[in-house]
Amino acid sequence: MSEQQEPLLEVRGLKMHFPIYKGALIRKEVARVKAVDGLNFKIHRGETLGLVGESGCGKSTTGRTLLQLYTPTAGEVIFDGMDLVKLDPRALHAQRRNLQMIFQDPYASLNPRMTVGDIIGEPLRVHKLASGVEANRRVQELMEIVGLDPRFVRRYPHEFSGGQRQRIGIARALASRPSFIVCDEPISALDVSIQAQIMNLLEDLQQEFGLTYLFIAHDLAAVRHISDRIAVMYLGHMVELATGERMYEAPMHPYTQALISAVPIPDPEIEATRQRIVLQGDVPSPINPPSGCVFHTRCPFAWDRCKKEMPDFHEAEPGHFVACHLIDEPARQPDAYKKIAAGSVSGENQGDATSASVSAREEE
């Protein structure tokens, strides 16, 4: 798809550090939480980019920083040709109608004192898109689009179930006809049988309105299902970015390999034969991240260079970005690593032809 190649949003060198202060009278910055520490990536028009990682890896901070809910410490966020970071408040406010967010917690993200109609209609008022009868009509239309009964327009959030509340949040995000929506863990607070309803709704809306999504979640299976491309974060850094198929069939970063192998698959026969890479230890603190590659403390393949030098996030094969020293030192690649990166482990049940051709290409 050629139109997909045009980026809607481009992120360059994005950093978001949160200072930690100490001292009651003289406040002094004593440390920084490096929640996001130098991201470079693009989101194409009309695609869903999935963003995965474990708690504390900076994925939610990334989403919020893209929307300028935090002022980034450094970097550029270029949306439709404009650097959002440099916009003055008025120009940014005007842009906000194009950039919306769906939040994780359908309980905390809806004002309990506002009716559903007021909640969904708020973006219309804020951006002066509609008022009076026209606004009411639009609210009812939005409720229908997301599968809520428009007769409930005067009800309050507590009268709805979790899944229905998430629909309210989605209707609110759609109200200003945005082109880009950050979905921050939109399904993780919902019951299994409801998650599928919301995922299908998000897919339908994307088709209908040509939306571009950044879909943030810790559930890799859900992300794989909904995303065109997937980015993996670890401790404030992006370690890998590729299409869903490539990421699953031939992950190149040792962290991605471990992450994929750790996700249980609901099929006992497959589970019985899968090789699990169990990482040792816990994620280090982002206040004092490890030197060099941030993953080296848990990486089964790390050597001296990984402790000293931070690997570049670069395009290792067309469309497949990765930050790992193993890529440019093939001699150091252990057999276990090579096997997975060449797509001969998890890709078994899939198209063997594609993985074989790719591994051949890699060896050239």
Partner: protein, 362 residues
């Protein structure tokens, strides 16, 4: 595991209800299942299905009031736990049956050093002296993979990370070498790489100690890799029970089928659209005479709203509580791999036609 071996735990027609302002909530409404020695049983269900309340009842921890044990038996090695005096129950709980809770932060006492929390069960249940208990506890912490266990022994829970705290919980649960370990969503609060560590640990310990495990979870993936048998619960009732393989490959209850089809699978990618279960989970405060799933079920018939189904037995411990279990099983609708085909079957089902598709579906 042969059917003939004597069950370790047998839950028979258990009913745990709660009195609330909105009426009697039938959290557990006639649940029966059993666990054999050395077996790992997975209990799957969504929030409000009664999967946890069943086990809290087994441990005798239901507050009464508002709770009412309205009926049933819980036989642990033939002895009915519901008939025991609190003093007798205390000898079993934490000793012969122990539990790992979902949230390791709230289930460890933040004011007590873990040394105190870990030696207590040994001193209470096994009459060990302080020194002996300390030795045993440190040994167990090492076994569950806490690095430098001796040095960390006198630390407080907040000094451990989430995964480490869950290991402390597991160590505590295993100290007295229980015959039955109940794990209630033991990995839900943890990240996937840590989840993998904890699940491997539970597997290893099961092999080492021969402990039976009841694994309560909402995650079908977790039980697929762990459980020998799986119980599917919905609205306080058992819907289906089966050996793991049979449950995933020959699901015979529309709710099980619905769950399997609505869960995205990492190995399936974008290929197929998910097939959600329509509607919302029921309100257990307003019980219906029939099957609680009927309102959301594509297979429902008038009969389903009149009486709760008798179990249909497919042998090898595979039972489905559905009036149309045979048809569901034959239709073979296990995954969302081929939605077009499924739609066609479902249309037939709705129209009330009979299903004759055996062996036809890939």
């Amino acid at each position: 595991m042969s059917e003939s071996s004597e069950p370790l735990l047998e839950i028979k027609n258990l009913k745990t209800h709660f009195k609330t302002d909105e009426g009697v909530v039938r959290a557990v409404d006639g649940v029966s299942y059993s666990v054999r020695p050395g077996e790992c049983v997975g209990v799957v269900g969504e929030s409000g299905s009664g999967k946890s309340v069943t086990q809290i009842t087994v441990l005798g921890l239901i507050p009464q009031p508002p709770g009412i044990i309205a009926g049933g038996e819980i036989l642990f090695k033939g002895q009915d736990l519901l008939k025991l005096k609190p003093r007798e129950m205390r000898k079993i709980r934490g000793n012969r049956i122990s539990m790992i809770w979902q949230d390791p932060m709230t289930s460890l006492n933040p004011f007590l050093k873990i040394s105190r929390q870990l030696t207590e069960p040994l001193m209470t249940h096994q009459g060990m002296g302080k020194e002996e208990a300390r030795e045993k506890a440190v040994e167990m912490l090492t076994k569950v993979g806490i690095p430098a266990a001796r040095e960390r022994f006198d630390q407080y829970p907040h000094q451990f990370s989430g995964g480490m705290r869950q290991r402390v919980m597991i160590a505590m649960a295993l100290l007295c070498q229980p015959e039955l370990l109940i794990a209630d969503e033991p990995t839900t609060a943890l990240d996937v790489t840590i989840q993998a560590q904890i699940l491997e640990l539970i597997k290893d310990l099961r092999e080492d100690f021969g402990t039976s495990v009841i694994m309560i979870t909402h995650d079908l993936g977790v039980v697929a890799g762990m459980a020998d048998r799986i119980i599917v619960m919905y609205a306080g009732r058992v819907m289906e029970e089966a050996p793991s393989n049979a449950l995933f490959h020959k699901p015979s209850h529309p709710y099980t089928v619905g769950l399997l089809r609505s869960v995205p699978r990492l190995d399936k990618g974008r290929a197929a659209r998910l097939i959600p279960i329509p509607g919302l989970p029921p309100n257990v405060a307003k019980p219906l005479p029939g099957c609680p799933f009927a309102a959301r079920c594509n297979w429902a018939q008038p009969k389903c709203n009149e009486a709760f189904p008798e179990p249909v037995d497919f042998g090898d411990g595979h039972r489905s509580y559905c009036w149309r279990a045979e048809e569901v099983r034959a239709a073979d609708l296990g995954t969302h791999a081929d939605p077009g085909h499924i739609d066609a079957i479902e249309a037939k089902v709705k129209a009330g036609e009979s299903i004759e598709l055996q062996g036809e579906v890939g």
